[in-house]
Symmetry: C2
Subunit: 162 residues, 2 copies
C-alpha cells in the first residue's frame, strides 16, 4: 500500500457560502443554491458529453477541515456516530462528495443546483451520475433513516467541524 | 487554492481481482464478488453504526492507473467521451468510488458485495449511502442511458487503462 496519495485540484467550486456557519447540509438541503465548478484550462476537454447528464457527483477537498473526530455528533442528529457512518468533514481524509443537478456545461464551467460546499472549495473530480451504479434499490440507512431524515432540508451547519 | 492535497489510506480493499483484465465494471456488474475493506487499527472506532446501513460508497485510489486520457473510450461504449462524463480510471486524479452492499461490519473489516476494484486497492474513505443525498429522482444519464446500460452487467475490463 502506498503511504501517500498526492492529488492536485482540477479546478475550484464557487458557491454563495463564504463561511461554514449557516450552510445547508447536503445537496438535498441546498436546492436553490447555485454553484459553479470551474475546471482548469488543461482539463476542459474532459467535460465533453457531461451535458447529457442531469446529475454529477462532485468530489472535493474539505479544505477548511483540520484533523478528524472518530465519533462526531453530525448535524443531522444529537448522538455521536462513527465518522464512516456520517458525512462529517473532520474525517481521516478530508474528501467530500455531493451529487448535484447540472444546470449547464459551458466552456470551463459546470453550473449546478444544490451547492452545499464552501466558496473556494478545491475540486478533485467530477463523476457522471448513473442510477444503475449509484442508486441501489431496497437500501436502508441506519441512524439517518430513523433519527433525522425528515428534517434534512432545514438543517444548517454550525462551527463544530471548523 | 492549495496546490496539493495529500491523503493517506485508511486501509486496504481485498477482492478476488488480482489483475485488471477481466474485472467486472462497476458494482452493478460485480454482484457475487465479495470484497473486504480492512481499516487501520487507529480508525476502527469510526466504523461504529455503519452496520445499520445496507450500502456504503467506498472511495479509493486507482493505484495501478498512470496518467490520464481526456477523451477515453470507456468499457461501456465504442465511442470516446470526456473523462468527466465517464468513470474511467485514467483521470487527472486517480480517485474511484463504488457504492456497494454491506454484508457485515466486524472489527476492522467491512465485508461487501459488488467488488469491482483490484485486490490491494488503497481505501481512502467510507461514506454511508443515503438515498435522499445520493439518489436524485428523474435523472438522465446521457451516453450511458443510450449506448450501453443494457449491457452493463456483462462488460469486463481489459488493459486499456493500465
Amino acid at each position: 500500500m502506498k503511504n501517500q496519495i498526492i492529488l492536485e485540484p482540477i479546478g475550484v467550486i464557487h458557491t454563495p457560502h463564504g463561511q461554514i456557519e449557516g450552510m445547508p447540509v447536503q445537496p438535498a438541503g441546498a436546492a436553490g443554491f447555485t454553484g459553479k465548478a470551474v475546471i482548469k484550462k488543461e482539463y476542459v476537454e474532459g467535460l465533453t458529453d457531461l451535458d447529457g447528464f442531469s446529475h454529477a457527483t462532485l468530489v472535493y477537498h474539505f479544505h477548511k477541515a483540520e484533523g478528524y473526530v472518530l465519533m462526531p455528533v453530525p448535524f443531522m442528529d444529537t448522538k455521536p456516530h462513527g465518522v464512516f457512518a456520517t458525512r462529517a468533514p473532520k474525517r481521516p481524509n478530508h474528501i467530500g462528495m455531493s451529487t448535484v443537478r447540472i444546470l449547464s456545461v459551458e466552456g470551463d464551467t459546470v453550473t449546478f443546483d444544490g451547492a452545499d460546499m464552501l466558496d473556494g472549495t478545491p475540486l478533485i473530480d467530477v463523476k457522471p451520475y448513473f442510477p444503475k451504479y449509484d442508486s441501489p434499490p431496497d437500501s436502508k440507512s441506519g441512524w439517518l433513516d430513523t433519527a433525522a431524515h425528515k428534517q434534512c432540508c432545514n438543517v444548517r451547519s454550525d462551527n463544530r467541524f471548523m
